[in-house]
């Protein structure tokens, strides 16, 4: 089971109301390689992957939910004081009409989240390679969002998340090697 902890993994600060950046950040909330996709992808792959790497998928999948809450906090803080007019000017007029200031699992272009973003092939290497690619894509997206803002407080939180993608990709690459090594051992016997 999962137990919620009432704190963020890393402090989230923003220095101004900025719905324009919030609109881009939604990509990491409900986009193809966002945090929701990541969490659901890894936790769902656990049931058909070798025991040796189930722990890693469980732990990274769980950490992704902490990242999802950080992104939600960023979006919340960037938009909570925005007027309908400011939302509209930031390109969030449609969002305001449909959701007010509520969060919604969609990408930066307003496309709702879909399970088609995530895969589970039952083949450990195919799944892990997808996971590595997803982390690298998320890392790149974080960089592009960092480039789109001059808010150093926001950048600080985004840089933390960008670095986490790198660490996760590294651990997944090690998991690939563990599975390969395991197969080699089995061939010998």
């Amino acid at each position: 089971m999962w137990i919620y902890e009432k704190k963020l993994q890393y402090p989230v600060r923003v220095s101004k109301c900025d719905p324009r950046v919030a609109r881009y950040l939604v990509e990491q909330y409900g986009g193809a390689d966002g945090e929701l996709s990541a969490a659901l992808r890894y936790l769902n792959q656990r049931y058909s992957i070798p025991d040796k790497v189930v722990g890693l998928l469980t732990d990274i999948g769980t950490e992704e939910f902490a990242h999802l809450e950080m992104i939600a906090t960023m979006i919340y803080k960037l938009t909570k004081d925005a007027t309908p007019r400011q939302m509209e000017e930031a390109g969030l007029g449609d969002h305001y009409v449909i959701h007010d200031n509520a969060l919604f699992y969609q990408n930066a272009s307003g496309v709702p989240w879909t399970a088609a973003y995530i895969q589970a092939k039952g083949d450990p290497l195919a799944d892990l390679y997808e996971d590595i690619a997803a982390e690298e894509k998320a890392r790149a997206t974080y960089q592009w969002i960092i480039d789109m803002t001059d808010d150093v407080d926001l950048q600080d939180g985004l840089k933390f998340l960008r670095e986490r993608e790198i660490v996760h990709a590294m651990r997944f690459k090690e998991a690939v090697e563990m599975i390969k090594a395991d197969r080699e051992t089995k061939k010998v016997f």
């Binding site: 137990i3 009432k6 704190k7 963020l8 993994q9 402090p11 890693l56 809450e69 939600a72 998991a175």
Partner: protein, 87 residues
């Protein structure tokens, strides 16, 4: 949200976040390096430190977790302290 948040709240929270970050990193590392004795020792040592730090924080600012993993004073404290996106 009746408790006023002071400097100390943010300082203690940060201390806990720092300990927990080290523990997350060690957890993922140990998932792929299960035989690293030194990392394991560091993990167990920090886990103990983390527990003390969390207990101290909870005494002051209320429960961090639910379903029996944290204690509560009367009346039920769960919604009394601010949520993570409100601080």
């Amino acid at each position: 949200m009746d408790k006023k948040l002071d400097e100390q709240y943010y300082r203690q929270l940060l201390e806990l976040q720092q300990l927990d970050f080290a523990l997350v990193e060690l957890t993922l590392y140990l998932d792929t390096h299960p035989n690293d004795m030194q990392a394991l020792q560091q993990f167990n040592q920090l886990a103990q430190q983390r527990q003390q730090c969390a207990n101290q924080f909870e005494m002051q600012y209320g429960p961090l977790m639910q379903f029996g993993h944290s204690y509560s004073k009367y009346p039920w404290q769960w919604v009394e302290s601010p949520w993570p996106w409100q601080v």
